[in-house]
C-alpha cells in the first residue's frame, strides 16, 4: 500500500521514524526545535523526543557542524541542519578539514556517522546569498558523500540511508522541491534507498539527459514537449552526486549515443563538467555527438524576477539544447 505525500512530509516522517528507531540520533540547528524548521521538516520532533536530542542552537554554523563531529566521534549519530546551504560556508573548515578527513588522518580509528542537511536552490527572489547549490564543492572533497533527492520516495529513503551510515553525508534538498508530491509506502513501512544508484525517470532512445535535483522535473517537462516532436529523451536522476552511478549513465548512452547534463548551480567548474569528463573517459566510443551542459549562468543570483529567470536553467533551455543536438533547432 502506498500514498501520495510531499517531499516536506517525507522528510518529516523520516526524521520522526529515525529518531524513534535510534536514541543516538540528535539534531542541532537554528530553528529545528520550537519552530520545527522553516519548512516544517522537524515539526513535532522536539515535542516527541525532547530538548536533549532536538537542539535549537545559537547562530554559529562552525560550532554546529564541529560539535556534531565531536558527538559523532564519541558515539552519537548527529544531524546538523544549516538553515540555507549558502551559510555552510561558515562551517567550511570543520566540514572540509575535519569532518571529511578525520577518519583518514587518524588511520580509521574514528567513525563519522554525521548528516549535514541544508536546502539548496534558487527561484523565489532570495537573491545572491540564499539561492546557491554547492554540490560540486563537496563532491570535490574526498571523504564526503553528497545526496540530492528530488522525489518524496527518495527523500525519505535516502535520508534513512544517510542517517544509518558511518560516513559524513551532505544532504541537499531543493527549496522549490519541498512541495513536490509522489508515492511513498505507508507509514511504518521501513525502507531505504541505497547511495550510488541512479533512477531512470523516463526511458527514451534519442538523447540521455542527466539531471541534478530540481532539474529532473524540468528535464521531464522538456522530454514531454520533445516527445510531441518525435524526439524521445531518457532522463536520469543520479540521486547521489557522490557516490555517482556512471554505469546507468553509460548504459543509457550506449542506447542514445547523446548526452546532456543539466544542473541549476553555475556552470563553471560545476558537477556537469565532472560528469561529462568521466563519461568521455569511460565511454567516448559510445558518443555520436559532443556532450552539452545546460546549467546556471556564472553570476551571483540577481534579485529581480526577470533577471533571476535568465540565470536559472529552464525546461525550455533543455529543449533547445536537445533540438540543436538533433539538428532540429
Amino acid at each position: 500500500m502506498s500514498r501520495i505525500i510531499t517531499i516536506k512530509q517525507a522528510l518529516n516522517e523520516a526524521h520522526m521514524e529515525e529518531f524513534a528507531r535510534d536514541p543516538r540520533i540528535i539534531i542541532l540547528g537554528c530553528d529545528v526545535g520550537i519552530r520545527g524548521n522553516p519548512f516544517g521538516l522537524t515539526k513535532g520532533l522536539l515535542e516527541q523526543f525532547g530538548s536533549e536530542r532536538v537542539r535549537d542552537t545559537p547562530i554559529s554554523e562552525s560550532a554546529i557542524v564541529g560539535t556534531c563531529l565531536g558527538a559523532a566521534a564519541t558515539g552519537l549519530r548527529p544531524i546538523a541542519e544549516i538553515l540555507f546551504s549558502d551559510w555552510i560556508t561558515l562551517g567550511m573548515d570543520q566540514i572540509v578539514n575535519q569532518i571529511a578527513k578525520i577518519r583518514y588522518m587518524f588511520g580509521g580509528t574514528i567513525n563519522v556517522p554525521l548528516v549535514i542537511r541544508a536546502p539548496v536552490g534558487a527561484g523565489g527572489g532570495q537573491a545572491a546569498q540564499h539561492s546557491q547549490s554547492f554540490e560540486s564543492w563537496f563532491s570535490h572533497v574526498p571523504g564526503l558523500q553528497v545526496v540530492m533527492p528530488i522525489t518524496p520516495y527518495d527523500a525519505k529513503g535516502l535520508f534513512k540511508t544517510a542517517v544509518r551510515c558511518d560516513d559524513p553525508v551532505l544532504f541537499f534538498e531543493h527549496k522549490r522541491g519541498y512541495e513536490i508530491t509522489g508515492e511513498v509506502p505507508d507509514v511504518g513501512v521501513d525502507y531505504t534507498v541505497p547511495f550510488g544508484e541512479a533512477a531512470v525517470r523516463r526511458e527514451g532512445t534519442d538523447v540521455t539527459i542527466v539531471a541534478i535535483s530540481i532539474m529532473v522535473h524540468k528535464a521531464l517537462a522538456a522530454a514531454e514537449a520533445l516527445s510531441q516532436l518525435g524526439i524521445e529523451c531518457e532522463v536520469i536522476d543520479p540521486r547521489t552526486i557522490y557516490p555517482f552511478d556512471y554505469n546507468t549513465v553509460i548504459k543509457s548512452i550506449s542506447k542514445t549515443h547523446r548526452l546532456i547534463v543539466t544542473h541549476e548551480s553555475s556552470r563553471r567548474s560545476g558537477i556537469g563538467a565532472e560528469i561529462v569528463s568521466q563519461v568521455v573517459e569511460k565511454a567516448f566510443e559510445e558518443l555520436d555527438d559532443k556532450p552539452v551542459i545546460v546549467a546556471g549562468l556564472n553570476i551571483p543570483m540577481p534579485y529581480n524576477r526577470t533577471l533571476e529567470s535568465m540565470v536559472i536553467p529552464s525546461d525550455e533551455k533543455i529543449k533547445q539544447a536537445v533540438l540543436q543536438m538533433m539538428d532540429r533547432a
Partner: protein
C-alpha cells in the same frame, strides 16, 4: 635581529614581569601520593626526551614534513591529564606529542607515526600534526589552529545526551583564542552547561605573533566573563597548579555546572616548529630566562626538596624514560612502510569501501 627588536633590558624586564604574574608555589595537593608525583615526573621526562629527539630525527630525515615540539609545556599536559579519570577525553592542537604521552599513549606507536610507518597510531597517514590515540581518549591533533574547539564540545555533548560521567579537555593555544570558532564553542557549551574544560596553553607566541599584539587584553581567562563561565589563570610551568585547576573544573563539569576556561601560562622558548629560525624575535634574553623556568627541572627540585625522591632515584627515572624513547626510535626505524594497498583504506568506513571503492 628582528625588525621590532627591543633592548635586552626591556625584554628581560618584560619576562620578569611575566614570571611574577605567572609563578605559583610548587606544592602537591594532599590527594597526590608520592607515587603519583613520581608518575608526573616520569611523564614530563618522557615528553622532554621524546621531543628533544624529534628535532634531531627530523634533521636526519627520519621524520618527514612538519613537527611541533611540546618542550617547555610538559607541566601543562601532564598536570591536566593527572586530574582525569579513565574514560575522559581530550582534544589536542598541532603540538600534540605531549598530550599523547600525558594520556598514557604508546611512544612506540607515536614515533612510528612520526616516521610515517604502517603501525603508527594513524597508519602513517597523519604524522605529527594529526597524531591521535583514540584508545587512550586522545581525540586527535589538528593542523588548523582553534579547530579542535567544537570537537571537544561535541564530545561533551555526547556525555550529556547519553548521561555519561566523562569530561573532555579541549587543549588549545593562545593563537586559537582569536578564531571565530573559539568564541562559538565557548558560548554554545556554556549555554548548554556541557562537561568540557577549555585549557588554553598560553605560550605567548603564535609563530611570530606575540600575544600582546594579538589581543588588547593580555588575560585570556578574562574572556570567560563574557560567556558566563569561570575563568582561571594558572602557572603553566607548575604541574600541580594545572592539576588543581583541572581537578576543580572537572568537579563542576561532572556536576552538570558547565565549562571552565583555564589559561595555563608558560613560554615557548623553542621555535614554532622544528625548522623555525626564529628570525622574528631576539632569543638571547628569552632562552636563558625560559631555561630558568624549566618545568622539568622545577619538578625535579621539588621532589628532592620535599623528600619524595633523591637525585639518584630521579636520575634512574630519567634514564629509563630516555631508554624508552631510544627503544621507540629503534622500533620505529625498523617498522614497515605502508604500501599502496592502504591508500584508500580509512577514507570511508569499511562498508563503504567494500561497496564503492573510494574513487
Amino acid at each position: 635581529m628582528p625588525i621590532s627588536a627591543i633592548s635586552m633590558e626591556e625584554s628581560l624586564a618584560k619576562l620578569e614581569k611575566y614570571k611574577k604574574e605567572v609563578m605559583q608555589e610548587m606544592k602537591a595537593p594532599p590527594e597526590l601520593a608520592a607515587e603519583d608525583q613520581l608518575e608526573i615526573y616520569r611523564k614530563m621526562a618522557l615528553i622532554r626526551e621524546f621531543d628533544t629527539n624529534v628535532k634531531d630525527l627530523w634533521k636526519q630525515n627520519f621524520i618527514y614534513g612538519l613537527a611541533h615540539a611540546y618542550l617547555g609545556a610538559e607541566a601543562v599536559a601532564v598536570g591536566a591529564c593527572t586530574a582525569l579519570k579513565k574514560g575522559d577525553f581530550i582534544t589536542s592542537t598541532h603540538r600534540g606529542h605531549g598530550h599523547v604521552i600525558a594520556m598514557g599513549g604508546d611512544v612506540k606507536k607515536m614515533m612510528s607515526e612520526l616516521m610515517g610507518k604502517a603501525d603508527g597510531y594513524c597508519k602513517g597517514k597523519g604524522g605529527s600534526m594529526h597524531i591521535a590515540a583514540v584508545d587512550h581518549g586522545m581525540l586527535g591533533a589538528t593542523g588548523i589552529v582553534g579547530s579542535g574547539m567544537p570537537i571537544a564540545v561535541g564530545s561533551a555533548l555526547t556525555a550529556q545526551v547519553l548521561k555519561k560521567d566523562y569530561v573532555t579537555i579541549c587543549f588549545h593555544g593562545d593563537g586559537g583564542t582569536n578564531q571565530g570558532v573559539w568564541h562559538e564553542s565557548l558560548n554554545m557549551s556554556a549555554v548548554w552547561n556541557l562537561p568540557v574544560i577549555f585549557l588554553c596553553e598560553n605560550n605567548q607566541w603564535a609563530i611570530s605573533m606575540p600575544y600582546e599584539k594579538a589581543a588588547k587584553n593580555p588575560n585570556v581567562a578574562d574572556r570567560a566573563i563574557g560567556y558566563g563561565i569561570p575563568g582561571v589563570t594558572v602557572d603553566g610551568f607548575n604541574p600541580f597548579a594545572v592539576y588543581e585547576a583541572v581537578r576543580d573544573a572537572a568537579i563542576l563539569a561532572r556536576k552538570g555546572e558547565g565549562p571552565t576556561l583555564i589559561e595555563a601560562r608558560y613560554y615557548r622558548y623553542i621555535g614554532h616548529f622544528v625548522a623555525d629560525d626564529e628570525r622574528y624575535r631576539d632569543t638571547t634574553t628569552s632562552k636563558p630566562w625560559a631555561e630558568s623556568m624549566d618545568p622539568v627541572k622545577r619538578m625535579r627540585e621539588y621532589l628532592v626538596q620535599s623528600g619524595i625522591a633523591d637525585e639518584t632515584r630521579l636520575d634512574e627515572i630519567y634514564a629509563s624514560m630516555a631508554k624508552e624513547v631510544q627503544d621507540a626510535i629503534e622500533y620505529a626505524k625498523a617498522a614497515p612502510e605502508p604500501t599502496a594497498a592502504s591508500l584508500y583504506t580509512d577514507l570511508y568506513s569499511p562498508e563503504f569501501i567494500a561497496k564503492y571503492g573510494g574513487e
